[in-house]
């Protein structure tokens, strides 16, 4: 039995790394992605360099994305999920469900005419984000007049490439593959669950992810409430990590918080930045030097806040326990950033059930001891943060590792 096809589920950075290595090793790869675009979270992050690179690795992402898109042996299926599987190691048959593609990403040339002519408000046709790959428009089913049964055909008539098809049906297809890599990634902890910190209630309480996206889009930081430059900023560590229900360290938050803190200080030297923490995770290549620099300009306070309240002025009053000063304390900030951690994908249980792979104590997919890519099912491997928190570099390395294991399986079968 010879099958030189591999399936990678999830086109985030580790799935992309896996797909590239599999394809470079000579295999044909199906890379399927639940969302409409590939790249995952990392694609929406921002560079955190000041006048020098601070090694956040975000710049590695766009190039890998471009490489995967143009690789001749990789087929990408977006808007797709796995719904069933049969067969075994070396010869899996995987059922893939693809949502209706009202606008075909293969035919859309992103000219934007459809969005221009769309008569609804807000538009039913959404323009892609600047970093989106594939770079194509998408249709909001709930807004579209045609899909609501009305007789509107404006976008389809005007589309120069006939990319729009209202009759598009969800597609089920069966892929025959020798090996599978699961790279479904993580979800960001929903900070609303820690209600006392006021996320989504107060405009000036943001998460680390919000900050990534703000810097990516705007290039600098403004207060959401009034557009002014914040002067007193607090970072709160371990939001959604290292507690009873998330008994692990998310590995990335201390580093991104410190990098952001330095970036904010770089852009606005007068800003006062405080980081509230339990334990600082400062190990890692080159980070020691960076941490020493941070100590000079950033205030570190041991202890995390219990509550954040908004004063009538819009300022945020934070109640925290400063362990060093042995007493409860209050302080006022313009902006509070919650350093949210990584949690398992909500639908990972469904995928685990379909594939027959185990879920570990923390809710991430379970790997074998001493080999974090191997699952309980032969021929199915794990890559990246679906197995547990990792930063971008570790995710890439993990993706490469999974690819290596999967290649072994297929070469052995040959």
């Amino acid at each position: 039995m010879e099958n030189n096809h591999a399936l990678v589920i999830g086109a985030g950075i580790s799935g992309i790394a896996s797909a590239l290595e599999l394809a470079n090793g000579g295999l044909s790869v199906y890379l399927i992605e639940k969302e409409a675009t590939i790249g995952g979270y990392a694609a929406s992050f921002c560079c955190k360099a000041t006048d020098v690179c601070t090694k956040c690795s975000v710049c590695l992402v766009p190039e890998k994305i471009n490489e995967v898109v143009s690789h001749p042996r990789i087929s990408i299926l977006v808007n797709s999920i796995v719904t069933g599987i049969s067969g075994e190691n070396g010869n899996f048959r995987v059922e893939v469900f693809q949502k209706s593609q009202y606008i075909s990403p293969e035919r859309c040339i992103a000219c934007g005419i459809c969005a221009e002519v769309c008569p609804t408000e807000p538009k039913a046709i959404l323009s892609p984000l600047a970093e989106a790959v594939p770079y194509s428009y998408s249709l909001n089913e709930t807004q579209c007049l045609r899909l609501k049964g009305e007789d509107c055909n404006l976008c389809r008539e005007r589309c120069p490439t006939n990319a729009i098809d209202f009759k598009s049906k969800p597609k089920r297809q069966e892929l025959s593959v020798g090996t599978i890599i699961v790279a479904t990634g993580f979800e960001v902890f929903d900070a609303r669950e820690t209600g006392s910190l006021g996320y989504s209630r107060y405009p000036n309480v943001l998460t680390g992810l919000d900050l990534e996206r703000i810097f990516n889009r705007e290039g600098s930081l403004k207060l959401p409430s009034n557009g002014k430059e914040p002067q007193k900023i607090a970072f709160v560590q371990c939001v959604g990590s290292r507690n009873e229900s998330h008994c692990y360290c998310s590995q990335v938050c201390c580093k991104y918080a410190m990098r952001f803190a330095r970036l904010i200080k770089y852009q606005n030297p007068n800003a006062e930045v405080t980081i509230f923490y339990i334990d600082l995770q400062t190990a890692g290549k080159g980070f020691d030097k960076f941490y020493e620099e941070c100590k000079e300009s950033i205030r570190f306070v041991r202890g995390v806040p219990v509550e954040i309240l908004e004063a009538p002025s819009g300022e945020l009053e934070m109640k925290f326990e400063n362990i060093l000063e042995e007493k409860g304390n209050r302080e006022v900030f313009d902006l509070v950033v919650l350093s949210v951690g990584m949690v398992p994908m909500k639908d990972s249980r469904d995928l685990a059930r379909i594939l027959g792979i185990n879920i570990g104590d923390e809710g991430f997919f379970d790997a074998k001891p001493f080999d974090s890519t191997e699952t309980n099912v032969e021929g199915i491997f794990l890559a990246g943060t679906c197995q547990g928190p990792k930063d971008i570099c570790d995710s890439i390395a993990h993706g490469m590792t999974a690819a290596k294991r999967a290649t072994e399986v297929l070469t052995r079968w040959k």
Binding site: C47, A49, V52, K55, C59, E63, A130, N216, G219, S220
Partner: protein, 129 residues
């Protein structure tokens, strides 16, 4: 040759600045249209002669746009470019073209605003020359 129009040449590293320029376009961040982007494999490929030649052709501002310091795929490409830009500035001063009209800019692939800002700044500088 028309010397009236104030052209700017931006040598853009394909790993960073060239992508940023595309991102700026996608975000419809408008910037002066007198800039001409030349794609290079690394800022370290840009040579003194290229910059001088541009000025010879009547270009009035040159930007060399590479990756962030410490993030060059070829380790020294952007720092070498920076030195070369500095040297070219001196050469241009010798011929009476003031130094500010060549500039090294370090960018990451997502810094569309910075990119547009730098171009606007150069455009303003050459307006007021």
């Amino acid at each position: 040759m028309s010397r009236e129009d104030n052209k700017i040449v931006a040598f853009c590293c394909q790993h960073s600045a060239y992508q940023v320029a595309n991102k700026a376009g996608r975000m419809r961040l408008h910037y002066p249209d007198n800039v001409r982007i030349i794609r290079v494999p690394c800022a370290g490929r840009v040579d003194v002669q290229h910059i001088l030649k541009a000025f010879e052709k009547g270009v009035v501002g040159v930007l060399v746009m590479g990756c962030q310091e410490g993030a060059c795929q070829h380790l020294t490409g952007n720092t070498r470019a920076k030195k070369r830009v500095k040297y070219t500035e001196d050469l241009l001063k010798e011929v009476g073209i003031d130094g500010g009209r060549v500039k090294m800019v370090n960018l990451a692939p997502d810094m569309a605003q910075r990119f547009v800002g730098e171009i606007k700044e150069m455009a303003e500088k050459i307006e007021g020359r």
